[in-house]
Amino acid sequence: MNWQLIARKEIGDAIRNRQLYALAATFALVFAVLAELHVRQVDRGYAGSGDLVDQFALPGMLLVPVSGLLLASSAIVRRRSNGQLTLLLGLPHDRRDIVFGTYVGRYAIFLASLLAGVFAGVAVVFGTGHGVPTIAVLAYLLASAGLGLAYLAIAIGISATVRTQTWATFAVFGALLLLLFVWRFVPEALAYAAAGFEEPTTRPWWTAYVGALSPSLAYERLLEPILGSAADRTLVWFSAAVLLAWGVVAPVVGYRRFVATDL
């Protein structure tokens, strides 16, 4: 069970090199500013107190994926290229401990930062005497934690697979572009192809599911019921499953590559 030791070391590293504080402070600042905007809108009557999560949606869509990817993209490959992995694997560690422990440790750092952010936002709202939509905020927190898990898992998978940091950077950037932007057009393109390369008369039922295969799009589906819009329940559960599936599959794929190659 040596992965716990690795996870603890990852967290300790982030504390010692102050990465954890920097990330938590960034989250706290962003959420506090957005909460302040929300409070002003409520005071002027432009928004209700339940609209807090609308403000939080944007950092959820951008800050969470980017920080998840950045936090883990070099986690393994950097130690591999600088020789720290050689020292670590001289100790009674399995390569599985390295991948899993790094994953868990880095995710804990992400979660702590996300919590600090949401807490800071809520504190601003609460401190100015406004109501906090507790259930919606908790649901938002859960969905964002799932999104962070998926992106962090993808970055861990990449970091375990590639041999140089340059490739890790390219791959992570490519993954972000693909999953955050390009994937929005994929369901339409598939529907167009399925209709014999003609504009389909009706949107096939599966396009929404294909779209939700991207963690970012799955997250947006998850936010719909939280933001109070009409949502397809099956699609929401499917989206939650997609986030968890990324969280499992990406590190496993990375581990299988990692274990089969020479250091």
């Binding site: 040596n2 070391k9 090199n17 020789g83 720290q84 050689t86 020292l87 694997l89 001289g90 009674p92």
Partner: protein
Amino acid sequence: MPAIALRNVTKRFGDVHALRGIDLTVESGEVFGFLGPNGAGKSTTIDILLHYTHPSSGSVDVLGHDVTEAPVAVRERVGILPEGFAPFETMTGRQHLAYAIESADADDEPEALLERVGLADAADRSAAAYSTGMTQRLALAMALVGSPDVLILDEPSTGLDPHGVRRMRKIVRAERDRGATVFFSSHILAQVEAVADRVAILRAGDLVAVDTIDGLRETVDAGSELIVDLTGEPAAVAPVVASLDGVSTVDERDDALVVGCTADAKLRVLDEIRAAGATIRDFSTGETSLEELFVSYTEGAT
């Protein structure tokens, strides 16, 4: 049970054959020197022993565990000083030791281990600021955690000053006396000669010799030459010399006799020549050292 057993181990990187079928057994409790020029495959062999690298074929057992099947069981009982490693940049020397002790579930004192390798003064400094030699000492201290049954040291004297090299030697001897097996690589013969019970010489991925240091010396001695200039006809004494113990060859060259013999036979040869009535004008010995032997074994290596 041997400490380390390699059976027909090969390693190919693309179309480069780094190891071409290594068969090697290291017995429990011996200090084994693994000698070879740079690029001969020493580090590749050690990387395979630790399962950093996968062998292309063959099998490797350390303390009865197959390293491919049970790398963690091997790492639990082996202390390793690897090559090309880096310390953790956020940790001090003491924190490195604490981590190694916890991972090995051992009860060593970081202080005592750092003292042993001569790093106690720098215990609370960040290891990122250590010199090469200090980093080397730190990894040695980490390798000693939990009194491992086998120590594997890859070029242990890298970056060490003469004082550090002596300390390293002292530690290797102390570990051997404790009952540990020490397997270490080097490209410097003198270092191997000073501590190793047995040596293997690797050249371009092949083992060219596995022997004790004494055995290697005998090989050297058997090859030494004695050249004796005589005033008279060499042919007259040649048969007498050829019949002596320890003499392998006798050749005549102008007025000289060229005798191939062991080192301890040289004096007997000279005595016998004088006893036979010949007058010695001069003599010289063509001494082959262990160094030359090493060079001759590894010449032409790529």
